[in-house]
């Protein structure tokens, strides 16, 4: 099964961290060496992927348009669906990146008896997709309280907002709930929807399981298995990591190392996976090009340089052969001079 292997891989990662950290001295390996390696892979790999994309030529102007293109003055142009200039493209990209606009147009095709084919708007993917992504963003911002000393206002503001419901102690975070809900939907649709299930691969399931593992270990650490989760020791390690003077001052729970190891796996895996849509969304030529093929000439960057060769030049080159073969020429051969 396509999801058995990725699930086993995530379970193996958790076990590696849980067991590995029991070996004396390995706390430094899991707490310092692995995070630095993972961050180096993330940043290096991310830049490598972006630059390799930037080096790929785009032979044709290929924006996807799904609205009325720029035309005669009395025909109303759809500026977002068929942008013709940079500002319209920027507006389109902004809505795509921040509001996932193309998912908003998602439809579901169903065949009824007859046969009768219907298309119906289906916004669930948009809803849970946006829920998941923004929750993840807030979770990352919230975690900055462990990396920044003193904690900036924005971070504590996000945290207070996130725990606004004041449920329990430590207070429940709303984004923890929405992140897991989003993940469960994104996983569930790959199981339930036959079309999506058919095209889902191991590398679709793996990041879902991995992020689910990260969320689960984090939630367990904060709310349930709190023993030895010394937040001050963890913050000292985190601040130490980003100031390049890492220290592990106390015994920290193995669950923390499992959480950290899964995050490191996610960072290291990120540039080489489908998660690169984070950078790729900016690089997509079907989104970031203007639909202005009739206004500006798009030159294929890999076109060879071909010098113009007119018919007159051609005839000049081959005139003698043409006359010899009896092909009519526009300009006769120069009269032979008598010897």
């Amino acid at each position: 099964m396509k999801y058995a292997f990725p699930l086993a891989a995530v379970v193996a990662l958790v076990l590696i961290a849980l067991i590995g950290v029991q070996i004396p001295g390995m706390q430094y390996f899991f707490g310092v060496v692995i995070p630095y390696l993972a961050m180096a892979l993330f940043l290096g790999g991310f830049c490598y992927r972006i630059i390799s994309w930037a080096k790929s030529p785009v032979p044709f102007k290929i924006p996807t348009t799904c609205g009325q293109g720029y035309s005669l003055p009395w025909i109303k142009q759809d500026k977002l669906e068929a942008p013709v200039n940079t500002s319209q493209v920027v507006a389109r990209m902004f809505l795509e990146i921040f509001l996932f606009r193309s998912l908003w147009r998602n439809t579901k095709a169903t065949v009824y008896d007859g046969p009768k084919l219907t298309y119906e708007s289906s916004k669930w993917l948009w809803l849970f997709g946006i829920l998941f992504h923004y929750s993840f963003l807030l979770v990352v911002i919230r975690h900055m309280r462990l990396f920044l000393d003193p904690v900036p206002f924005l971070v504590s503001f996000v945290e207070v907002g996130d725990s606004l419901l004041q449920i329990g102690a430590p207070t429940m975070y709303m984004t923890d709930v929405t992140l897991v809900l989003g993940l469960l939907f994104l996983f569930g649709r790959r199981l339930v929807n036959p079309h999506v299930r058919y095209i889902s691969l191991a590398n679709d399931y793996f990041p879902l399981f991995l992020i689910f593992g990260v969320a689960t270990t984090g939630i367990l650490m904060r709310f349930y298995l709190r023993s030895d989760v010394d937040i001050n020791a963890i913050k000292q390690l985190a601040v130490g990591l980003v100031t390049l003077h890492p220290t592990i001052t106390a015994e920290i729970s193995a669950l923390f190392y499992a959480h950290l190891f899964l995050v490191c796996a996610l960072l290291a895996y990120f540039p080489f996976s489908k998660l690169m849509h984070m950078g790729g969304v900016f690089m997509s030529p079907t989104r970031n090009m203007a639909n202005d093929t009739r206004m500006k000439r798009h030159v294929n960057p890999w076109n060879p340089t071909i010098k113009p060769h007119s018919y007159a030049g051609y005839e000049d080159e081959f005139r003698a052969d043409m006359v010899e073969q009896g092909i009519p020429v526009e300009k006769e051969l120069p009269p032979k001079t008598d010897e």
């Binding site: 989760v229 001050n232 000292q236 003077h245």
Partner: protein, 123 residues
């Protein structure tokens, strides 16, 4: 490389953004908080590891039992009776909010809402 005028600045902004924690801390890891412990008391209501990890859950349970269920029972510790109370039990030994509670809470940006209802000791 195509569009390098847009892509290279974009990448530089991305890398600077991701490495904000490095620039923000100025390479200084700072000191860990040192909460001031009471001098005369020897035991807390729970062993030190448990109270450090679970004090907020204990206080939350006390709050629910006392205020919502009206169970103002007391518990015994070293032959003395104590109330389930932040102000009368915890703050009896840990007299200073600033020198005890706030040291760790400020460091880790934890904002407990105890003081929404309780009046903090004047310091």
């Amino acid at each position: 490389m195509y569009d390098s005028g847009k892509i290279i600045p974009g990448l530089i902004i991305f890398v600077l953004f991701i490495t904000i924690p490095i620039w923000y801390n100025h390479g200084d890891a700072g000191d860990a908080p040192k909460p001031e412990l009471p001098k005369d008391a020897k035991n807390c209501v729970l062993p030190v590891e448990d109270i450090r990890a679970n004090h907020m859950q204990l206080l939350n349970t006390w709050r629910d039992e006392v205020l919502r269920d009206g169970e103002r029972g007391s518990f015994e510790l070293d032959g003395k009776q104590y109330q389930k109370s932040l102000m009368l039990t915890c703050m009896e030994c840990h007299t200073s909010k600033k020198k005890f509670c706030d040291t760790c809470h400020d460091y880790a940006s934890v904002k407990p809402y105890c003081w929404d209802c309780h009046i903090a000791p004047v310091e």
